[in-house]
Symmetry: C2
Subunit: 251 residues, 2 copies
């Protein structure tokens, strides 16, 4: 299902380990790319600590401003896993032990089930479960807020499942050109190209690698034909400055 | 200068390239670790697009809530570099061409100076410059908001300079232990340890790598003696579950 309006999402990364610098986030780019393919634009990301008031504030601000909210982290069995209770508080509902989640966990752990493991069956009342094909303990969705694990392998499996069901607009198309040219050389001409194509997003990203500096120009638009037209103008501009651009290898 | 209160900072990452998934952020962990050493805790991170209203809102919320705010990105010469104007709008001041910045740029570019390059001398009125030893175009500070480049090599050089001058509290000490134990096995005992040491932050981080799962327990406190005491309790607990923990290699 696609239409012409722009769908947006926000991502809330919950975890002291990201804010302390101990762990490098590995989920943001995956979520961004997956949403693009579903025609949803990632509009904002917040990284918040394991503090309920911070989580509640971020959820309540972002779920109103966006079509979708995703959270990662804080849904495990330990004392620092406070996401379920915080989301419930954000919605003003109580936390229940979801019968389907409890059954999943009891089947998975058998005789090794314990209270800490059963904590992973606790969700805000009114939630639907989000399957976890990797380690069973499910995520959940309440209205437009999707609560996922923090461990990247689990998060990705959960997110891929959710993505298949999202309503979105047209996916954003993009192409880019790279040239060993300073962006300040191109800036004026590039600004004019942006003005001629107001529907497009013309981004300029300087880089330094392997001792050489240059600029990547990335063009995004929901219409492929527009992306192609803008890219040709950028190419003409770059060759006008005496540099043959390279097509950027997409990661 | 150190005292006993907790100093906090927020980081605002400005850039469509992060939100689109094109670029993996490389600045968050560096800022977090640098702040830790200065006795400042990174309390929140936001990633916002190149849209002035979004930048203004984030700056004005976070500069009130925190001792320091850092922004990265959007201070180059192109049309999508709108950070200076957005920060000026957040403070309700006008943008001026800073004479010292203009001189730096004119000295650096010589005859190749142009209007786009001079745009990098534009800062909110009342700002101090933040030196850029890599490529000259400076960042700036206005009250507690520090505006840095997005390119990691430049950002790091600017940030290191700023860090030397920050007032902070006591740096946070941390140690961690890793065991091939599910966190749900340890959860109950770990919660009791956390209760006995309320000043400490006892984090539990499950992982899966190379086909083996396990949990890293990270203990943080401003007192090294407390960190050491908590780590010994965690070690005793892990060996009680029949697993000899490993000392985690810090990245």
């Amino acid at each position: 299902m696609t239409d012409d309006r722009i769908y947006t999402a926000a991502l809330i990364i919950i975890g002291n380990e990201i804010l302390s610098g101990r762990t490098q986030d590995a989920n943001l780019a995956y979520v961004a790319n997956g949403l693009n393919k579903s025609g949803v634009r990632l509009a904002e990301v917040r990284v918040v600590p394991d503090i309920d008031t911070k989580i509640i504030k971020a959820v309540n601000e972002l779920r109103i401003e966006n079509d979708y909210v995703f959270t990662t982290g804080g849904i495990g069995p330990t004392h620092d896993d406070i996401t379920s209770h915080s989301i419930a508080a954000a919605f003003g509902v109580k936390v229940i032990r979801h019968p389907d989640a409890e059954k999943l966990l009891r089947d998975h752990y058998g005789a090794d089930i314990n209270d800490s493991r059963l904590k992973m069956a606790e969700v805000p009342e009114g939630s639907d479960l989000i399957p976890n094909p990797v380690s069973r303990a499910p995520g959940f969705r309440i209205t437009n807020v999707h609560v996922l694990a923090g461990v990247p392998r689990i998060m990705k499996a959960q997110f891929d499942g959710v993505c298949l069901q999202l309503a979105g607009g047209k996916p954003v198309k993009s192409r880019s050109l790279v040239a060993h040219l300073a962006e300040s050389v191109m800036a004026e001409e590039l600004g004019k190209i942006q003005e001629r194509y107001p529907s497009s997003d013309v981004g300029s990203y300087p880089f330094m690698r392997a001792g050489k500096s240059g600029t990547a120009i990335v063009v995004r638009d929901i219409e492929q034909v527009t992306v192609d037209a803008v890219i040709e103008e950028v190419r003409t501009m770059m060759t006008g400055f005496g540099v043959e651009p390279e097509v950027e290898v997409q990661l």
